[in-house]
Symmetry: C2
Subunit: 179 residues, 2 copies
DNA sequence: CTGATACAGAACACACTGTTCGTTACTTTG
DNA sequence: CAAAGTAACGAACAGTGTGTTCTGTATCAG
């Protein structure tokens, strides 16, 4: 990738991210972004067709970092042991914490929902490998339950409870849900 | 309230609701709504200052129906018995099912998030009265956990699992979470 | 050095928003 | 039943944001 492209892309991400901490998503205009990023209008549209696409790209960027090493690079990992599963979960939380600065703005506003949606998709995969078959309750329901509780736990964490460590959040989760 | 007002308001709600089943929220314009509702432009703005306000009004409408009899009219109800709490939850599910037709469109798209946000606010109150004090895990976390799991359970229900009865959903929930 | 590629910036057509106002139709009150 | 009040209509309007196009300039890779 061209150095100019990286630079521009980074500037836009940075601008958008900090704008999100001040304004709600729908109140942010493309003009705001290109002003803050200090790039030309046509340049923005050369990178992203729409504001929404930019948001999606930012989410992908984050999740690539958070999940790549954890899940993608070891697709054969079985999560058979409860301990190893718990480790994975804690790792995910650690990586999210690293990206804290980028994520906070996204979580704050209405686009937090979009972020959550993507997050849930990734988490679904992770939990899908772990959740046991048994029970009268539909597996689908239980999977949804676990993913929802964990994802919303993360949102809770970022939304004013940053004092806890990833290990603690992990402990809270496993103390409340049975996996 | 004037009959004309009611009629207009109803027509707009109806139009918006059915539009939501075909299009995503942000793709729906005020023009679309007034065309579908067959009302004048100025009339729309006499009722709602913005599309967002319309959505909020619709949500309020629904929740007033779902929660009024359950919670508001008996604010002193204590939920002390596990059974009565479970009954309340089931009642809420029943009332949601009644409003199914109006809710489906809202749930579908991105504005489902707004609906969920309101839903969570109401549920928070309900669960707040029930959740015990004890435990090492912060009460706040556990409350968030229960509310999230239940709310997302409802979304799951409306999102293609309508074959289950309110009683079953209730059973699924209480079989997964400990309240 | 050179061709390719990215950026700047201005101009543009287009779409949607939210407001205003004069007119018509309906509803309530006296 | 009439009169006053209120809501709806619909056209016109300015304002704002979108996404595209184009020309010229700067930067990159080989």
């Amino acid at each position: 990738m061209d150095r100019r492209q990286r630079k521009t892309r980074g500037a836009i991400f940075q601008a958008f991210s900090s704008l999100l901490e001040m304004k709600r998503y729908s109140a942010i205009t493309v003009q705001d972004i290109i002003d803050a990023a200090d790039v030309g209008r046509s340049t923005f549209y050369a990178h992203f067709n729409t504001k929404e696409e930019l948001l999606r790209a930012m989410c992908d960027d984050i999740f690539e970092h958070v999940f790549s090493a954890e899940v993608m690079r070891e697709p054969e990992h079985d999560f058979s042991s409860a301990d190893s599963f718990r480790d994975r979960i804690t790792h995910i939380l650690c990586h999210l914490q690293e990206k804290q600065h980028h994520i906070k703005g996204i979580f704050a506003g209405e686009c937090g929902e979009i972020f959550m949606k993507y997050l849930r998709e990734y988490l679904w995969e992770v939990f899908d490998r772990r959740l046991p078959e048994d029970g009268e309750i539909p597996r689908d329901y239980r999977l949804n339950h676990a993913v929802s509780a964990f994802a919303e736990g993360i949102r809770w964490w970022f939304g004013g409870h940053g004092e806890y460590t990833p290990e603690q959040i992990s402990a809270f989760f496993f103390g409340t849900v049975d996996c």
